[in-house]
Subunit: 255 residues, 2 copies
């Protein structure tokens, strides 16, 4: 079995479910750290900063440093920087996005932005959606942290960022550029920041349509685990298969 | 030229533009009233009550009674009554929708609705969109007052009700039933309330894709006027043509 130097883990459904850690993954991450392999976390969640996300993992007994965590917000800020430099941005989003944009040197403005950036915002208002639509119609770049149309809560599936970006797309006729999985900018940003080569990277996730597709599109090896959204039995519905398909990470090295 | 007993006018782009009345239409409506013809107003706007809409018209010097005004909210309330009786409804919307639903005998509830009704709501919150999505996913009927994805303001096009209904559709995978033009329930509700026959009705509007299509689908004659969204020169892009195409209503009887 090939040795990988940079393990990229999806979070919800792979490392934990809601607030409950998945023990097989926790053990596996511990063994990777003992061997000195690189451990990274790649999450479409735009709301939390890497610092808060690391605290959440530490609270579950999983060692994690902020710089190991790539969120869709951090990748959004990096993407804008790489393509436009530091620019005035109209932002819909929460603390994770605000922090990522300003840390990268972008300026958050209310008028005449060069880009409209949309992440999940549980304090959304009509005025924010109208401002964003007007700026997009006027020609601002339109970037969405991720395309997840809904996400699970204790009450059931509630609207995700993809639904809000979709609202602005319906109102303006302009499609957003999506940063999160299944797109590749988060993996690109990780590789850029840490000097990783594709041959040494591997993406681990439970969701074929986001995690595995992102890995395939980026051109790295992938591990599917049967601990979340996509059941192993459903993988045959898809064309290109993950490099490895395991029930849990306890199966790594055993097959 | 055929005599029609029931003239159904679209409002914005046909009777007025924003706050400015269109003089040819104002004159034409006056002549209809002098001849004793029926005058009705058919608007996708769900926010205003018929009383407030009539006041707006009176303020422009156009005689109008609340019972002559069919809004997408009134037609929504009538549609629910006809198909489900009086039911508990989760509402996203403004005063026009609230008033129409309660006047028809429906009960506005926060939990366990039989129907989710979505109209434009400039006080939208994440919580309302989440509640609506959860109820739709749980099997409530899903009705939207209208499908307009954007609407014009002084600042430009801002998100319309169709964009919000579209957000819930993206989050739930359930398509709404649309009441407003180009659907026919508003014309049906007018005919039901006033005992009108299709042969005596005619729909007048500036927008081919909403006003004219609604008239064609309902099976009544139509007049297109070149005072708003669809230019006369663009009518050839569409299949079925309006019964009459005029620059303004000054041209009625002259061609």
């Amino acid at each position: 079995m090939k040795e990988y130097r940079a393990w990229c883990f999806d979070l919800d459904g792979t490392v934990y479910r809601g607030d409950v850690p998945i023990p097989e993954t926790v053990r596996f991450i511990r063994s990777l750290r003992e061997k000195g392999a690189g451990v990274f976390f790649v999450t479409n969640n735009s709301a939390l900063t890497p610092e808060r996300q690391a605290e959440k993992l530490m609270g579950m007994g999983i060692t994690a440093a902020p710089e190991e965590i790539m969120t869709s917000s951090v990748a959004t800020a990096d993407h804008l920087l790489k393509n436009h430099g530091t620019i005035p941005v109209y932002m819909i989003g929460e603390e994770g996005l605000r922090s990522a944009l300003t840390s990268a040197g972008h300026r958050i403005v209310r008028e005449a932005p060069d880009a409209v950036v949309v992440g999940i915002d549980r304090e959304i208002t009509y005025g924010k959606l109208a401002d964003a639509s007007l700026a997009v119609s006027a020609g601002s770049a339109f970037v969405a942290t991720n395309s997840d149309k809904a996400y699970p809560t204790e009450r059931g599936l509630v609207p995700g960022n993809g639904a809000f970006a979709g609202l602005i797309e319906l109102a303006t006729g302009v499609s957003p550029f999506y940063i999160g999985k299944p797109s590749v900018p988060m993996l690109e940003a990780l590789a850029d920041r840490h000097g990783l080569e594709k041959e040494e990277m591997i993406m681990v996730g439970d969701n074929y349509e986001t995690d595995i597709v992102a890995g395939i599109r980026y051109g790295i090896d992938t591990v599917h685990v049967d601990t979340g959204v996509t059941r192993t039995s459903a993988l045959s519905n898809y064309g290109e298969q993950p490099t490895y398909a395991l029930k849990t990470l306890d199966g790594w090295g055993a097959n």
